[in-house]
Symmetry: C2
Subunit: 384 residues, 2 copies
């Protein structure tokens, strides 16, 4: 049986990347590595749409999130976070761990924070030094419009706009410099298509100024130290060498496809999958939807849906987390996927529905998806 | 040209491990991963000689060192560190970053701290809560006798004995429980024979008690959180999945060879290499020597020694760091090496000496090494 991964991290790793990583290991203080790292750095800037350095940390994305707060804030400062899912909640947990005051906005899981909510919170807490957002909330599949929020509050807010872009970078447009974001973080096993083990973070000039004043302790994740090394084409600590070399290949693929086209592809796959699932009678969960992952309510009589997909058809997807456990399943279209992968997924969904004796119109899923793909390919969906 | 890596991290990765890591990636919240992780955990305990959990962190070894201090100490507490090289110095840097008071012992780089020095320091600073040691100081190639120090001070010192075992675990005997150590750290790209990206840390009951009282901020490296996940067969954050799966293979190799035999092999390779280099007229640097890496003074007229070895013969080794830059070179025999690899190295040393018109007796290096190997294989060198 062919096995297929539809989880929002790890995401599938392209074959060429896997083989590159299987070559004999090299030392990181060599010309060969430095050349690879220089290319990686340039392509990361391209993907983030920034002139600022994008620093590579050997950690999961959570390490990058910790680095974002620990380097730019001072003990006792207030930060605004948004708990609309497990990853938004994490900003607050990190803030609390570092003795920051967490002015959390609670939004119903499955919905996104609005500009109005952020504005209200800024009025209530005028001393807040940072707003921490989640571009694509992986636990709910909800998209937050960072561009709109940044545009709305940038002029009136002189603190930091900090963005968890862990499942957004590569899936959604992200114009770091143009939008006026101060810190953005992503991880390796997401839109970057390599295995987990690296996090990436970029800071605006405003964020670097804040870093000069920060009094929170930091060593492994000390970004000033990381930047000094970066300027020399190096990392502060031994990097995950094989992952960096794999990343070089993966970023070359992204560069070759073009970032705008990569964003369009993600929008198209997401839309096609959603139309296919809807045509089969599924109800989607969460709005507005992320282009990285689609959350779907488990149907009545579908409690063994994930199990059948996995055991009978080799399809691994993600379940719901915490309060959403047993209520939703999540399907990734983040990274190394194309239209065919979505049709394949819908094929096994139909077979599983049949196994579970659920009601559906045969062929409706793939047909709806195909029509969506065709129409979007024709009109070249504008990136959002 | 065949290229060969003789650096003390990254060290060569066995072919079977590389190929395992090149297989399609799996999700970490699956039975398949949990089974692999359980085997890894058991074999890490075997290698550390401990019944305590050995926690896996996705970071370089430095992240493990930071976790060691940040989880077990309180702001303003005194720690004794030993600056006898770049990595010993790092303990002090981390301590300072976290607002601990660094009661540093300065020893000449190339020498080891003695029991007497530690005792004196404990008398001068009776409030010290931790002694931070470096089992194998990678920057100088010097071994510190942790067993002897722990045995000497354990009864009189109720603080923590914290050991950087980054280039020691797998190369030197390490009996965590029996010796009364409280924290030990290692990294993946060393004796464990996989690429960089993972750190490992184990804590004694005394250290876990200290962790309950610690008031230093910690999130990504929060070991209490890591332990909760560990008890469920999981990690707190997304682990570097491919590295963990590679580690399973590497640890199976170590288990199959037997830890005592792995330690003996490292002692034998180190002794053989040293005798070969000495027979060729080289002067060794640092004592007592580590079984992981051998430091050698660059000979007169040998300033391009490393360059010729690399460019003409494909041999990558490590130079000196900081004050030792341009004075020494360092050769790794840590991890996936055997006697033949040492003879190969000595062969290219002779050729390079010849290229540089240095004086030596032809064949003396490999002959001396071979005799050492034969005699040690015969007497089955006791582990040290």
């Amino acid at each position: 049986m062919k096995t297929r991964l539809y989880t929002p991290g790890p995401t599938p790793v392209p074959e060429g990347v896997m083989l590159r990583m299987a070559r004999p290991i090299i030392h990181h203080r060599t010309e060969e590595f430095k050349n690879a790292f220089a290319e990686v750095n340039e392509n990361l800037q391209y993907l983030f749409c920034t002139e600022e350095p994008v620093l590579t940390l050997t950690s999961s994305g959570t390490g990058g999130m910790e680095a974002a707060l620990a380097n730019t804030l001072c003990r006792g400062e207030e930060v605004i976070t948004v708990n609309g899912g497990k990853f938004g909640e994490r900003w607050g947990e990190i803030a609390t761990a570092y003795g920051l005051v967490n002015r959390q906005i609670d939004v119903e899981w499955g919905t996104a924070v609005t500009v109005e909510m952020i504005r209200e919170r800024l009025v209530s807490y005028p001393n807040a030094r940072a707003i921490c957002l989640t571009h694509s909330e992986t636990s709910t599949g909800v998209f937050t419009d960072i561009k709109e929020i940044a545009s709305a509050v940038r002029d009136e807010f002189d603190g930091l706009i900090i963005v968890d872009g862990i499942t957004a970078v590569g899936a959604h447009e992200m114009r770091f410099d143009e939008w006026g974001i101060d810190v953005a973080v992503t991880g390796s096993q997401k839109g970057l298509m390599i295995p987990p083990g690296l996090a990436f973070i970029t800071l605006s000039k405003r964020a670097w100024d804040a870093a000069e004043k920060s009094d929170l302790p930091s060593f492994y994740f000390d970004l000033k130290r990381a930047r000094v090394a970066y300027e020399k084409g190096d990392t502060a600590w031994t990097p995950a060498v094989t992952l960096v070399l794999g990343l070089r290949e993966a970023l070359a693929m992204i560069r070759s496809e073009g970032r705008e086209q990569v964003w369009r592809r993600h929008a198209r796959l997401a839309a096609g999958l959603r139309s296919g699932l809807t045509a089969l009678g599924f109800e989607l969960f969460g709005a507005p939807p992320s282009n990285a992952v689609t959350s779907v309510l488990l149907p009545e009589g579908g409690s063994s849906f994930e199990k059948v997909m996995k055991q009978k058809y080799g399809i691994t997807m993600a379940g719901g987390q915490e309060a959403l456990k047993g209520k939703i399943f999540r399907v990734s279209h983040l990274g190394y996927y194309d239209d065919g992968d979505m049709l394949t997924f819908l094929h096994y969904v139909e077979r599983t529905m049949s196994d579970l004796e659920l009601t559906f119109e045969a062929g409706a899923g793939v047909s709806a998806a195909q029509q969506t793909f065709t129409s979007l390919l024709a009109e070249e969906l504008p990136t959002s």
